[in-house]
């Protein structure tokens, strides 16, 4: 199960409890992991990499200013940005993980998809246009808009880096495992390849290259998934009833797959997970950063609408794919392991085997290459977000206090990208055999308990002071980390203690209110002159956030 979980960290701890039979089946996964070298997949991946390197070369020649590097010069359209956001969000983990979850327990897979999607309307209604109107390159621009630059940016950069690094570990370990499975490459090679390509995209092509890599990948993934889903439906004469009837007949859990199962049984756990999924999205630095790549608030709104549509459509496809795998993969001994119960290569192979079943070897190669490309694109976006926190927030605004120029700032950013790339590769190797299933859950919990409360309060609450933002943000961060460590997934499953100190797997239901309450408390008790000035400055901030007057567009640079 260890290996299995590391492949799809996004599914989080739920998977472990959910699939005891698969856990047993995966016992022998560790030894027989590496698959024979898959040449058609490697060939298609090489084509993809070649294409993206051409784009990076093109983007590098057009990336001159800091605005180009961080925000693609603000020249991305709403539609393109919607695709890129969807690309950032549709990770290999969600493609393989959700279809695996549906394969294993049917309806429960839908619960995760829904949770991941409903954060988007909230981002649109409350955050997107205000973010675009107030910020320039990073969400810290907005959080620190009328507050003390040094403390607030230091906090925002720290929490952004924590989120980015935890997320990167999950993606890197997932990448290594997946590539080993799909391509038959060594784990270490795979992690190093991902690291090097990601560094090339980000340092040479900046946001422009990262965005286009993401757009291409999103198109490939959406068309690949559409093809699989259509092939499945065609097999059943386009009748959902026929598909479900067959699935219920052949699945070991039978009719139970058509209703909620054991994934969400405790109401507190359910709400806590729901909060982390919903509000965590609104606190992910690499997602927030995408809103600065469009020209204005109008385009920012449009991009959320397109992103929500693509992501929603994609989740519906993964649901069909999961059921397709139950009927077409789970019944075919060719795809099963020696025991005949688990899937060859592990539960996360459901979508991959289905690609083979409906489209043959060549299509299998295509989907494998797309899965690899997906990881590559997501880690690039993460690295860029982490690098801008270092260069734009920490270096330019905290360390140099604005006394630097664009060229130096971009150079620092490129160095930071290389540094983060190396760290990601090293951590990927260190964590190879660790159980990191908790990591994506932790990432969302941290984002929901640090970045999201600070961002929302800075936009909507006049009374916010620097002290409140920093103290509340750090307490939210500490709360999310400590409660995760003391909870069942880390304290019991990873550290091996007999019982967890904190009984819940997901901390957001406690750490998020803790953050909001401490932001409020440390602001209202702040009687300093600075706090008074900060309240005064809210009016001007509100006018800019509501009207877009003075907002920094691409033309301003």
């Amino acid at each position: 199960m260890k290996r299995l979980n590391t492949i799809v960290p996004a599914i989080g701890a739920g998977l472990l409890a959910l699939m005891p039979s698969l856990a047993l089946a995966a016992g022998d996964l560790g030894q027989a992991q590496q698959q024979p070298t898959n040449w058609s997949a490697i060939g298609m991946f090489v084509v993809f990499v070649g294409m993206t390197l051409v784009i990076t070369y093109w983007a590098a020649r057009r990336t001159k200013s800091a605005a180009d590097f961080y925000a693609a010069g603000g020249g991305i359209t709403g539609f393109q940005n919607g695709l890129a956001i969807a690309g950032d969000y549709m990770s290999a983990a969600s493609f393989l993980g959700i279809s695996a979850l549906v394969y294993g327990s049917g309806f429960d897979g839908l619960i995760y998809s829904v949770g991941w999607l409903v954060g988007w309307p909230i981002i649109l209604f409350l955050i997107a246009e205000r973010l675009r109107n107030l910020g320039k390159y990073t969400f810290a621009d907005v959080a620190a808009y009328r507050l003390g630059q040094t403390p607030v940016r230091s906090f925002a950069a720290t929490s952004a880096l924590v989120v980015v690094i935890f997320y990167l570990i999950g993606q890197m370990v997932g990448a290594g495992q997946l590539i080993k499975l799909l391509f038959g490459l060594e784990y270490t090679y795979a992690v190093v390849i991902v690291g090097i390509l990601m560094m090339i995209y980000v340092t040479f092509g900046g946001m422009k290259a990262t965005t286009w890599v993401q757009i291409i990948k999103a198109c490939l993934l959406l068309s690949g998934a559409t093809f699989i889903a259509l092939a499945v439906l065609a097999h059943f004469g386009f009748s959902f009833e026929a598909l479900f009837a067959k699935a219920v007949e052949v699945h070991p859990k039978h009719a139970a797959i058509m209703a909620p199962g054991t994934l969400v049984s405790d109401p507190i756990e359910a709400v806590s997970l729901a909060m982390a999924l919903m509000f965590g999205t609104a606190g992910l630095p690499h997602i927030l950063m995408r809103f600065f790549t469009v020209a204005d608030a109008k385009a920012a709104r449009k991009s959320v609408f397109y992103a929500t549509s693509f992501i929603g459509y994609f989740y519906i496809l993964t649901f069909i794919i999961g059921f397709g795998a139950i009927t077409l993969v789970g019944t075919n001994p060719e795809f099963l392991d020696a025991s005949g119960k688990g899937l060859r290569g592990g539960a996360n192979m459901a979508a991959i085997h289905l690609a083979n079943a409906v489209g043959g070897d060549l299509f299998l190669g295509f989907i494998s290459a797309v899965a690899f490309a997906t990881i590559l694109a997501v880690v690039s976006g993460l690295t860029l977000a982490g690098a801008s926190a270092i260069s734009h927030d920490l270096y330019a605004n905290v360390f140099a206090r604005g006394r630097t120029n664009e060229a130096t700032e971009v150079r620092v950013s490129k160095l930071a990208s290389v540094g983060l790339g190396i760290i990601a590769v090293l951590l990927g190797i260190v964590f190879e055999k660790q159980n990191i299933a908790y990591m994506v859950g932790l990432t969302f919990a941290i984002a929901a308990s640090t970045n999201f409360p600070v961002l929302v309060m800075s936009m909507f609450w006049k009374g916010l002071s620097t002290r409140g933002a920093v103290a509340g943000g750090f307490l939210g961060l500490a709360g999310a980390v400590v409660l995760t460590v003391l909870g069942p997934t880390v304290w019991k499953d990873v550290l091996g203690h007999p019982a967890a100190i904190f009984p819940f797997k997901y901390p957001a239901i406690f750490s998020m209110p803790l953050a909001f309450a401490s932001i409020w408390f440390f602001s209202v008790t702040d009687g300093s002159q600075r706090a008074k000035d900060e309240k005064e400055a809210f009016e001007a901030q509100l006018i800019r956030s509501e009207t877009g007057l003075g907002a920094e567009g691409a033309h301003a640079h």
Binding site: I111, G115, P121, A259, V264, V271, L542
Partner: protein, 102 residues
Amino acid sequence: MSNDLHAKIRSNPKYAELVRKRSSFAWLLSILVLIIYYSFIMVIAFAPKVLGTPLSEGSVTTIGLPIGVGVILSAIVLTGIYVRRANTEFDELTKQLIEGSK
């Protein structure tokens, strides 16, 4: 942006109208999303069997599926509704406000 322009915008009744209309619309839709989503989660937590009810007599498909897919579609539709109104009515109001304050 000068203080003069600020004062003009603040005293322009269109500014109050814009902020009021957009905020109430945004919070209304947010609350709607929260109600839809948390009702779904609460049914799963407290009455999961309800979602296992067959769609019609003898069918395998349960009402949970259209409901789950419906939550996804509702998110898409609500974002569409907001973008439509914001990109026309609110943006027009903003334009008038800025021009009227110059």
